[in-house]
């Protein structure tokens, strides 16, 4: 899903911009980004955790899905931090 209001909301911040609309679009943009993230998480956590579609998600699968989201965020934070450190060390930035 590509919901990019970047240009649109920028256009609004200029002269004659409408505060209410600006705020509305910011909130909606955040909600859309949140939703897009869930779609992405669910996509690969489903692949990782769900073996067979049965009558119910068993508790093992549920735990796996929840852990999958948290560990992915952990990895993302870890890599971001380490990458920043590497950049600093190499004096690149």
């Amino acid at each position: 899903m590509s919901t990019d209001f970047g240009d649109f909301s920028q256009g609004l911040t200029g002269k004659g911009g409408d505060k209410e609309l600006q705020e509305f679009l910011m909130v909606e943009k955040q909600k859309a980004q949140f939703n897009a993230q869930i779609h992405e998480f669910n996509d690969f956590c489903w692949e990782k955790c769900v073996e067979k579609a049965s009558n119910k998600l068993d508790s093992k699968t549920e735990t796996c899905l929840t852990n999958c989201v948290d560990r992915f965020i952990d990895v993302s934070l870890l890599i971001t931090n380490r990458f920043a450190q590497l950049l600093q060390k190499s004096g690149g930035m």
């Binding site: 409408d18 859309a32 489903w46 899905l65 929840t66």
Partner: protein, 88 residues
């Protein structure tokens, strides 16, 4: 005409409703696309001349489970965001 600033209150409400609706449609379409892809993969191992009843049952079940999973992931993600915000 200076863009959206000239909108009346009612026009603004209508615009906001439209934006909301379009986002909801896009969201549903995304879910539909993903569900179709995932459940096809899970349930149809060898595409035959028709969808047999066991495949249909599997797809129906897979759909329900995919939505369960979506809700679970959504909950886990919101909880994590909350946790990160209190830790900041």
């Amino acid at each position: 005409m200076d863009g959206v600033s000239g909108l009346s209150g009612a026009q603004k409400d209508e615009l906001m409703d439209q934006v909301k609706q379009q986002i909801a449609v896009a969201n549903a379409q995304e879910l539909l696309t993903k569900m179709t892809e995932k459940c096809f993969k899970k349930c149809i191992s060898k595409p035959g001349t028709s969808l047999d009843s066991s495949e249909q049952k599997c797809v129906a079940m897979c759909m329900d489970r995919y939505m369960d999973s979506w809700n679970l992931v959504s909950k886990a993600y919101s909880l994590r965001i909350q946790r990160e915000q209190t830790n900041m």
